[in-house]
Symmetry: C2
Subunit: 328 residues, 2 copies
DNA sequence: CTGAAAGCGCTTACAG
DNA sequence: CTGAAAGCGCTTACAG
């Protein structure tokens, strides 16, 4: 079909071993090297990676499996991963699971068939549990979502503490009926929920929260009726930026002014949170750094499979804006 | 290393040809099939795609090369492509070029070595020109960015007409000093610029525009000083959503009220354009449909390489909001 | 420094 | 329906 190493060898008048050495940068005399290089550009030869991988038993492919490629948090993460992969001459295979454990299982299987060199994975809560029991031996780094302790390296923030800080801020501003809107599919959302519960309980307040599919649409559907109730919350925290956006839309639709009738806060310092009026208070995660750190851990793991499991907890910070101004 | 078809054959007491047939769903007696399937689950055998691809000479890999994975337009596009690829059992290799022609060239070469089955590509203006002369024969669909006529299938909108419509709307609202902020790296931005020029000229107005790197940061840097001038525009249109966001930030920083001191409009109906006050008028592109259509064209092209070149022009629509209310 | 040979794990005609 | 053989395009010891 396409031009192979044999064609180049014939044109250059050498063996294919020699062509292979030239391509790999091995020890070859200058004269032969020049002849082979001429033959390569004359024929337009391009190595076949499928063959190289089969023979060398390393694919040089990194898989990235995320729950929602449309969530800008994951987009930024993927961007950082891709940048590192590019400079390491690794390929990136993209897998989007829509928070579906069945799809995650299928993708894991496919990536096993792919003989990937490494995996960056943001799994659902369901799969976090299963992953411990599964036979899965490719070098893997869990990012954003991980068990408290497990078999794989991970890069996370302290979700519980971050949410506790956010809720404590609202309490300090005088809010008492604080509602929580949390994703139902990730350990991350669950940890953030626990941070909310801890803060409320520490102040002797009754929690009032919902767990939903982590999309703006689900947030709108859940928040609309909630905000129409007589005992509706004075403030709302959400576990991610899509839920935050949905909550804001629902508040606007209900005609509630922010923060006077509803204070609002959530996660991820997306640019829009600063552009709406008033600005929305958020927990900012170092997402680019998380992506780069995950790749660093992965590269080390690929090099040294016997390293002890590492868990990297990065720090997040609250960015406070008008949406959480003191309660009247 | 890992379990191969030979191991399964030995356990099942058949030849590896037979195992291959079972895996491929070929004609095998029920009794033998059962034995082989038992051996497969007993050994935990997973086919090696590298070997399969080398032998069958088709990779089943789709490459997606985009200029900026962080631009939500491209993110949505990638999401749609991935969804179709998943159901077609194709893998997606993700390539991000940061609008860099050198990086595009490198990625094209890599994907050639990958022996990809197809390519979805949003190239820079530089590469749009080169692509015509390059030897590049993998099935390819250009999306969002394409030459007026060329060797490859494409899916675009009528960028020139869409921008003309947007500017004509501003003119009808009474604005005269309308500035344009356009990306410098894509045919898309250039076509939108031409639509702006056409509308201004049709009304005998002097154009006033800048071409910049298509990022929010570049937009802020360009717009800040511009809005500080005595002859600053009364209205501003931008060629994409990142520039729009940057322009809005610069307007806010300059303390200009919208639309009274500065009307604003751009591209892509991102959710934030509706949540800021006032809402921003935008051209909405059918981005998901563009991604799915691109995959449809690609699948057909993969099946029938001899089809004539097709150019699919999808329709866009203006979503008018408060940011372009009539001028005082 | 260079070449011949073996083999990575499959699929695919070709016999039987 | 089943198996033996060839071969996809490489790399990698092994000789020389």
């Amino acid at each position: 079909m396409s031009i192979s190493i044999n064609d180049v060898a014939r044109v250059a008048g050498v063996s294919k071993s020699t062509v292979s050495r030239v391509v790999a940068g091995g020890a070859v005399s200058a004269e032969v090297r020049a002849r082979v290089e001429a033959a390569i550009s004359q024929t337009g030869y391009r190595p076949n990676l499928q063959a190289r991988r089969l023979r060398s038993q390393r694919s040089g492919i990194i898989a990235v499996i995320v729950a929602d490629i449309r969530n800008p948090f994951f987009t930024a993460l993927i961007g950082a991963v891709e940048a590192v992969a590019y400079q390491q001459e690794l390929r990136v295979m993209l897998c989007n699971t829509d928070e579906d454990p069945a799809r995650e299982a299928l993708y894991l299987q496919m990536m096993q068939e792919e003989r990937i060199s490494g995996l960056i994975f943001a799994p659902t809560r369901t799969t976090v549990g299963r992953l411990e029991r599964m036979q899965w031996d490719a070098p893997t780094v869990l990012v954003d979502r991980a068990p408290a302790a497990g078999r794989h390296d991970s890069v996370v923030i302290d979700n519980r503490a971050a949410m506790t800080e956010l809720v404590t801020h609202l309490l300090a501003q005088g809010y008492r009926r604080i509602g929580g809107l949390f994703g139902s599919t990730s350990t991350t959302a669950t940890e953030r929920r626990d941070g909310y519960l801890a803060a409320m309980q520490a102040h002797g307040l009754a929690p009032d929260y919902r767990e939903v599919e982590p999309t703006a649409e689900a947030a709108i559907a859940a928040t609309g009726p909630w905000l129409a109730r007589a005992d509706r919350p004075q403030a709302l925290v959400t576990s991610n930026n899509l839920l935050l956006m949905g909550a804001l839309k629902a508040a606007r639709a209900a005609g509630l002014s922010i923060p006077d009738q509803l204070a609002l806060a959530g996660f991820d310092n997306e640019r829009w949170t600063e552009l709406v009026e008033p600005g929305i208070s958020v927990v900012e995660q170092p997402v680019e750094e998380m992506g780069r750190a995950a790749m660093s851990l992965l590269l080390e793991r690929m090099k040294s499979p016997e390293l002890p499991v590492r868990r990297l907890v990065m720090s997040a910070r609250c960015v406070l804006r008008g949406s959480t101004r003191p309660a009247r």
